[in-house]
C-alpha cells in the first residue's frame, strides 16, 4: 500500500515535461503577500530531520513523521510573522524499530511523559537573505528560548488554487539543555543534535 502510494508521484513525474504541467508558479516576489497571512502546515510536505554523531565517527539520521501547526507570514513586515509547530514525539523514525522504541523511552524522549515537542515563535526578524526566528522550544518537559535561522524557500500557488509557502529552519540543540543525559557525551552520542525543520504550509486564498 505504502509502495503504491509512493509510486504515484514517480509515475506522474513524466507529466512535468508537458507544457501545462511545467507552468512554473509566479516568482515569489511577484506574489509576495502584502499582509500577514496564516497558513496551515502541510505535514505531507514537511519534515523534521535530525542527525547525531555516533561514537565520534559518523552521523546517524532520523526524522519525526507526525507534525502540524501554522505559519503566519508577512514578507514586508517580518515582525508580524510567526510560527507554531507541534511534533508528536512518538513518531520518531530512525530506520530501526528497536532504536525507535529506545528513543521513545525514558532514556531519551520519554514520549509517554512528554508526548509533544513544540516550537512557538516570539520574534521574527530579517537576517541577510533569510530570517532569524526566536521562540520557545519545548522538549522533554523543558522549555528553552532559542533563535534559529530560517530560509524562505518560496511562495506560490499550487494546482488546486491554494497559496503555499515554504521555509527551512536549521539549528543545533544540546540534549543536556533539555535534561536528556543518557549516553550523550561526545564519545557516544553527540556532541549536540543537528536539526532541520522543513515546512510547507498552505491556505485558501
Amino acid at each position: 500500500m505504502k509502495a503504491t502510494f509512493l509510486a504515484i508521484p514517480a509515475a506522474l513525474a513524466p507529466l512535468s515535461l508537458l507544457p501545462f504541467w511545467s507552468a512554473e508558479p509566479a516568482p515569489a516576489a511577484a506574489t509576495a503577500p502584502a499582509e500577514a497571512h496564516t497558513y496551515a502546515i502541510d505535514a505531507g510536505h514537511s519534515a523534521v530531520i535530525f542527525r547525531v554523531k555516533h561514537f565520534g565517527v559518523g552521523y546517524t539520521y532520523g526524522r519525526f513523521n507526525e507534525l502540524g501547526g501554522s505559519v503566519t507570514f508577512d514578507e514586508r513586515n517580518p515582525a508580524a510573522s510567526s510560527v507554531e509547530i507541534e511534533v508528536k514525539a512518538n513518531s520518531i523514525d530512525s530506520n530501526s524499530e528497536g532504536r525507535d522504541d529506545h528513543l521513545r523511552g525514558p532514556d531519551f524522549l520519554s514520549s509517554k511523559e512528554f508526548p509533544l515537542i513544540t516550537f512557538k515563535s516570539s520574534k521574527v526578524e530579517k537576517k541577510g537573505d533569510g530570517y532569524a526566528v526566536t521562540g520557545d522550544l519545548s522538549l522533554h518537559g523543558v522549555s528553552k528560548t532559542i533563535t534559529v535561522d530560517a530560509e524562505h524557500v518560496g511562495t506560490g500557488p499550487d494546482p488546486w488554487g491554494n497559496e503555499r509557502v515554504g521555509f527551512e529552519l536549521k539549528f543545533d540543540i544540546e540534549p543536556k539543555d533539555y535534561e536528556i543525559r543518557y549516553m550523550t557525551d561526545k564519545d557516544t552520542l553527540g556532541p549536540g543534535i543537528g536539526m532541520i525543520v522543513s515546512i510547507e504550509a498552505s491556505r485558501k486564498p
Binding site: G98, P106, D107, E179, D187, T188
Partner: protein, 289 residues
C-alpha cells in the same frame, strides 16, 4: 569494553555501595543494633545509597535540580525514602501515626511521580482509584516485609531483596530503559552492605529500614510500566518477588537457613526471569548500538 560503558556499568554500583557502607558502619559496633538505630541507619543507607547511584546515572546534581521526568524524580524518591525512615524511627512506638505517615508519604509520592499519567491517560475517577489502590498495595507490601524482617533476622532477606531488585533491573533494561535499570541496580547495590551487616550481626534486622526500598522499588516499577514499556504482568511479577521471597523465608522454618535462602532466591529468579521474558520485545532488525 569502552570507558563509557564501564563508567555506566560501575557508576551506578560503586557510589551506592560506598554511601550505604558509610551509613551502616555505626551498626557494626556492638550495642548499637537496637531496632530503632538499625531502622534509622538502615533507611539512610538504602535511601542515600540509591540516591547516590541515581545521581551518577543522571550525570550529577545538574541532572536533578529541575526534576521534570520520572527518571530524575527517582533521585528524590531515594532521599524521601531516607527521610521516611527517619519518620518511622521517630514514630516507632506510635503505630497509628506511623501507618498514617506511610500512607501519606506513599500517596503523595505517587501523585508526584505519576503526574503525567493523570494528565494524559487516566480520566475522571480513574486517577483516584488507581492512586488509592497503588498506595494501599505498596503500604501492604512494605508492612509485610517489615514483619518478615522482624521474624527472620539474618542475611536472607537483604539477599533476597537484592536479588529481586537486580532481576527487576534486568527486566527494566530489557523493556526499554537502561536508565531505570541502572537506578534499580543502584538500589540493589545499596542493599549489598546491608546483607554483609546482617551476616555479621545476626541481631540486626532491616525492620523499619525498608521505607526507601518500598518507595523506590514501587516507583521504579510504576516508571517502568507507565513511562517505558514494562508490561503490567511483568511489573506485577517483579513487585511480588520480594514478598514471595519473604514468604518463602518465613514459611521454611524447618529447612536449614541456607536452604531457605536458596529457595527464596529460586522464587525471585523465577518471578523476575518471567518478568524479563514478558518485557522482552524481539525486533527484526540489527542491533543499533
Amino acid at each position: 569494553m569502552s570507558s563509557a560503558f564501564l563508567k555506566a556499568a560501575l557508576g551506578g554500583i560503586v557510589p551506592p555501595i560506598a554511601v550505604s557502607s558509610l551509613c551502616l558502619a555505626p551498626l557494626l559496633r556492638r550495642g548499637d543494633g537496637t531496632p530503632r538505630a538499625a531502622g534509622l541507619y538502615g533507611a539512610l543507607a538504602l535511601g542515600l545509597g540509591a540516591a547516590a547511584g541515581s545521581l551518577f546515572v543522571l550525570g550529577g546534581f545538574e541532572g536533578v535540580q529541575r526534576p521534570v521526568s520520572v527518571l530524575q524524580r527517582l533521585f528524590w524518591v531515594g532521599g524521601i525514602g531516607a527521610a521516611a525512615g527517619v519518620v518511622e524511627a521517630l514514630l516507632a512506638k506510635r503505630t497509628l501515626l506511623r501507618v498514617a505517615a506511610r500512607l501519606a508519604i506513599t500517596g503523595g509520592l505517587f501523585y508526584w511521580i505519576l503526574g503525567f499519567v493523570r494528565e494524559h491517560q487516566w480520566e475522571g475517577n480513574e486517577a483516584v482509584m488507581w492512586m488509592t489502590g497503588l498506595t494501599l498495595a505498596t503500604c501492604a507490601v512494605w508492612t509485610a516485609l517489615d514483619a518478615i524482617a522482624k521474624r527472620r533476622p539474618g542475611p536472607g532477606l537483604p539477599l533476597a531483596l537484592c536479588a529481586a531488585v537486580s532481576g527487576t533491573a534486568g527486566a527494566l533494561a530489557i523493556s526499554g530503559s537502561g536508565s531505570l535499570g541502572q537506578t534499580a541496580g543502584a538500589l540493589a547495590a545499596a542493599l549489598g552492605p546491608a546483607f554483609v551487616l546482617c551476616a555479621l550481626r545476626r541481631d540486626v534486622t532491616l525492620e523499619r529500614a525498608l521505607a526507601p526500598f518500598a518507595l523506590l522499588f514501587a516507583c521504579l516499577l510504576l516508571g517502568g510500566h507507565y513511562a517505558a514499556d514494562l508490561p503490567a504482568s511483568a511489573a506485577l511479577l517483579c513487585g511480588a518477588s520480594p514478598l514471595l521471597a519473604g514468604l518463602v523465608l518465613l514459611l521454611s522454618g524447618r529447612l536449614r537457613p541456607w536452604l531457605a535462602v536458596v529457595a527464596a532466591l529460586i522464587v525471585v529468579l523465577a518471578a523476575t526471569g518471567g518478568a524479563a521474558w514478558l518485557g522482552y520485545t524481539p525486533t527484526p532488525d540489527n542491533p543499533y548500538y
